[in-house]
């Protein structure tokens, strides 16, 4: 399941579904709204581009790390402290592949998928700065 959506998901159900034949390890990444003295977090995405990008990243990770299953669910809209933002579930035959695939996916998302976060505070809000460059880096291959 690759999705950008407002709704939360049942991570337990996803783990169960990820246990494909041959699975020896499932790694779950659950990015959560942290309590940085904020009231809520607001997320938006350029979905026309972001969804295909997530599908490309999942495909790249599957090929590179021999993954058996990949879920990426990135939530958008207003989220409260403690809510899930991003859920990545991967399964593989061995832990090295599962850990490697999960890490590859989260870093690729942070590097180039057009999604933004705004921290809402009592005094207004602030956009979270990106970790990767300021638009001067190499675009992902799939964007060309």
């Amino acid at each position: 399941m690759i999705a950008i959506q407002t709704e939360d998901v049942d991570i337990g159900d996803l783990i169960t579904a990820a246990k494909k034949h041959g699975t020896g390890a499932v790694v779950v990444f659950d990015g959560i709204v942290r309590d940085d003295d904020i009231t809520e977090m607001e997320l938006e995405a350029y979905e026309d581009v972001a969804t295909p990008e997530l599908e490309k990243i999942a495909g790249d990770a599957t090929e590179r790390f021999n993954l058996l299953h990949v879920d990426i669910i990135h939530r958008i809209g207003r989220l409260s402290v403690g809510e899930n933002i991003l859920i990545i579930i991967v399964s593989a035959g061995h832990r090295e592949e599962a850990y490697g695939g999960s890490r590859f996916i989260i870093e690729a998302i942070k590097a180039g998928v057009p999604i933004w976060k705004k921290e809402l505070t009592k005094n207004g809000g602030r956009w979270v700065p990106g970790e990767h460059g300021h638009g001067s880096g190499e675009p992902r291959q799939s964007l060309h």
Binding site: G31, L43, E44, A45, Y46, D48, V49, A50, P52, H74, I85, L86, I106, I109, K110, A111, G112, V113, P114, I115, W116, K117, K118, W127, V128, P129, G130, E131, H132, G133, H134, G135, S136, P139, L143, H144
Partner: protein, 104 residues
């Protein structure tokens, strides 16, 4: 593709321009803009932002160049801003302008 003609016979094209995140707050979510033939991508964005000083300054520097952190996509492909002047917009183009991404 729909072309309109003014009395001058000049062809007018429709281009969709979208802004995201901080740029959306300053300039609006989505615009359908009528543009004349042979307009460059930077000129199109300047035309849209010219009456919005804060929005304009968020995207362009004092020399009228795209700021280093700005990302522009044309029809889901990233535009190399070093060559932005060579980009001539076409009818039906879908342009997106946004600041650095921060997902995850």
């Amino acid at each position: 593709m729909q072309f309109h003609e003014r009395n001058t016979g000049e062809q007018i094209m429709n281009v969709k321009v979208r802004f995201f995140a901080r740029f959306r707050e300053l300039l609006g979510t989505e615009l359908i803009v009528e543009v004349a033939e042979r307009m460059t991508l930077p000129d199109l964005i300047k035309q849209i932002t010219q009456k919005n000083i804060e929005g304009h300054q968020a995207i362009f520097d004092e020399h009228g160049h795209f700021r280093e952190y700005v990302i522009v996509m044309r029809n889901a492909r990233r535009v190399d801003l070093a060559d932005a002047e060579k980009n001539i917009v076409a009818d039906g183009d879908d342009i997106a302008v946004f600041p650095p991404v921060a997902g995850g």
